[in-house]
Amino acid sequence: MKQRIYLHEIIYTVPGREEPYMASVTSLHYDPARMAAAEKAGHGKNEYTAFMQFRTAQTAGDFPRVINIWEMNWKVLSRALETQFQDKGRDTGMEEWWNRNLHLRRGGYDRVLIPADYSPDGPTLSQRANRREVFMHEVVWLPFGEPERYLAEMEQKLLPATAQFGIELIGAYRVAMRPRQVLTVFAAPDWSKFAQLLAATPDDPDLHTWQNYRNRTVMCSEDLMGVPARHNANSVRR
C-alpha cells in the first residue's frame, strides 16, 4: 500500500443503538448488492479496510459514541470523496445504506490520520491476535510544531513502560489539516491491566518522566474509554 493513512470517525450514536450501528457498519463488507454496485461504479474491492471499531464504556469522556477507523491511502480516500459529490461514479449502495441507518446515529466528527512510523498497520495487529477488551482513546492539542516531538517522546518513554503492563499500541497519529492535534489509541487485554498502569504511574520512573513531559506540553485533551464491537475482527475477544 502507498502512504498509509486512516479515516477516523467519532459517531454520535442514538443511545442504546451502539451495537446495531457497529454491526451495520461491518455489514458493509458483506453486502453483495453493495459490492456489485461499487464494482460497477469502478470503486473496486476492499479499498477501505476496517481497522478498528469500538464503543464508549462511559468511564471517561463523552458518550454514547462509536469509533470507526479505516485504513487506506490518499488516492483511495480522494477518489471516494470525489464520487460522493458527483453523479458520475456514485456509490448508490453506500447512499442507500447511509439513509437506511439514520435511526442508529445522529451525526459525527471525522479526522484523517497520518501514522507515526512505529504505528502498526492492520495486518500486523491481526497477526498478533491479542485480546483487546479495553480501549484508551485520546486526542491532545499541542503547541504548533510539537506533534512529531510528542510522538517521538511517546515511542521512547511511554511504549516500553506500557508494554510491561501488557498494554498494546493500536495507533499513534498526527491529524491531517489540524496541525496541533495528535490522536492515540491503546488497548488492554482487560480492565485490571489498565488499572495497574494507572496505579503505577506516580512511582514508575519511565511513566513518571512521560507524565512530566505531558503535563508541560499538552494544552488540552479529550479522552474516552472504549470496549470492542462484538462483530469486529480486529478487536480480538475471548
Binding site: 459529490f85 439513509n99 466528527y109 471525522d110 479526522r111 484523517v112
Partner: protein
C-alpha cells in the same frame, strides 16, 4: 469593504443535498433580488474531514450600510418578508440548528465578482478556522499575505478570503480554492516532506492559538443524496 455572514447548519438526517438545493434554487435568488445579498458559496462539509452532516453558507454584502438595509428588510421576517418566512419554515425539515459568524474580509480577499471574473475554481474548498493569540489577528493577516500567500499560490491554492469575526475577538476563517480532488491529494501527499509549508505551519505559533482545517465542496445541483 465587503461584509459576510458565514452560516454553519447542522443537517437533519439525509437532507444535506435538499438543503443546498433549496438555498441555490430559491433562497439565494430571492435574497439577491429582494435585498441584494449575494450567495458566495453553498457547500457541503466533507464528512471525512470534519463534522457531518453539515452545510456551510457564505453570504456577501457590500458594506455595513448594505448589511443594515438587508437585515432591516428581512427581520422580523413574519412582518417584512413573507417568502423568506415560507423558505425558513420549509427548511425546518432539513436542519437541526446552526451557528452564524459576522465577518469582515482582509483587503487582499476576493469578493464574489472578482472570484468569478478571475475564474477561480470552486468545486473543492479548504476551510480554515483560526483563533489568534490575543490582539494578533491583524499581524496574522499581514503574515498570511506577505509570507504564506506566495507559498500557497506556488502550490496552486487560490485565496478566496481571509476573514475576521466582527464581534468575537481573535476569531477568523480562511477559504482557499483548490483545483479539485487530485490537487488535494497532491498537497496531502507532499505535506510531510514540504519544508516550506511545514516551516509556515510551525511558525504560526507567533500569531495563532489554533488552526483547524477541513474541506467543503459544491456539489452539482441534484447530485447529493445524503
Amino acid at each position: 469593504m465587503s461584509v459576510y455572514i458565514h452560516e454553519r447548519i447542522d443537517i437533519e438526517g439525509g437532507a444535506r443535498g435538499k438543503m443546498i438545493d433549496l438555498i441555490r434554487s430559491r433562497w439565494a435568488p430571492h435574497l439577491e433580488r429582494a435585498h441584494g445579498v449575494r450567495l458566495f458559496g453553498a457547500w457541503a462539509t466533507v464528512g471525512s474531514t470534519a463534522t457531518w452532516p453539515e452545510v456551510r453558507l457564505h453570504w456577501e454584502m457590500d458594506d455595513w450600510a448594505h448589511f443594515a438595509r438587508a437585515q432591516e428588510g428581512q427581520h422580523p421576517m413574519e412582518e417584512r418578508d413573507v417568502y423568506l418566512t415560507e423558505l425558513w419554515n420549509q427548511a425546518l425539515d432539513y436542519r437541526k440548528h446552526g451557528h452564524a459568524q459576522l465577518l469582515t474580509a482582509a483587503p487582499f480577499s476576493l469578493d464574489r465578482a472578482a472570484a468569478r471574473a478571475q475564474g477561480v475554481p470552486g468545486e473543492v474548498i479548504l476551510h480554515e478556522d483560526v483563533r489568534s493569540l490575543p490582539g494578533r489577528m491583524a499581524n496574522y493577516h499581514e503574515a498570511l499575505r506577505a509570507q504564506f500567500l506566495p507559498l500557497a499560490e506556488k502550490r496552486g491554492m487560490r485565496l478566496l478570503g481571509a476573514y475576521s469575526h466582527a464581534l468575537v475577538p481573535n476569531t477568523g476563517l480562511n477559504l482557499w480554492a483548490l483545483r479539485g480532488w487530485e490537487h488535494w491529494q497532491e498537497l496531502m501527499q507532499a505535506e510531510s516532506s514540504d519544508r516550506e509549508m511545514r516551516a509556515w505551519t510551525e511558525g504560526q505559533r507567533e500569531w495563532l492559538e489554533d488552526s483547524d482545517a477541513f474541506l467543503v465542496v459544491q456539489p452539482p445541483c441534484g447530485t447529493l443524496h445524503t
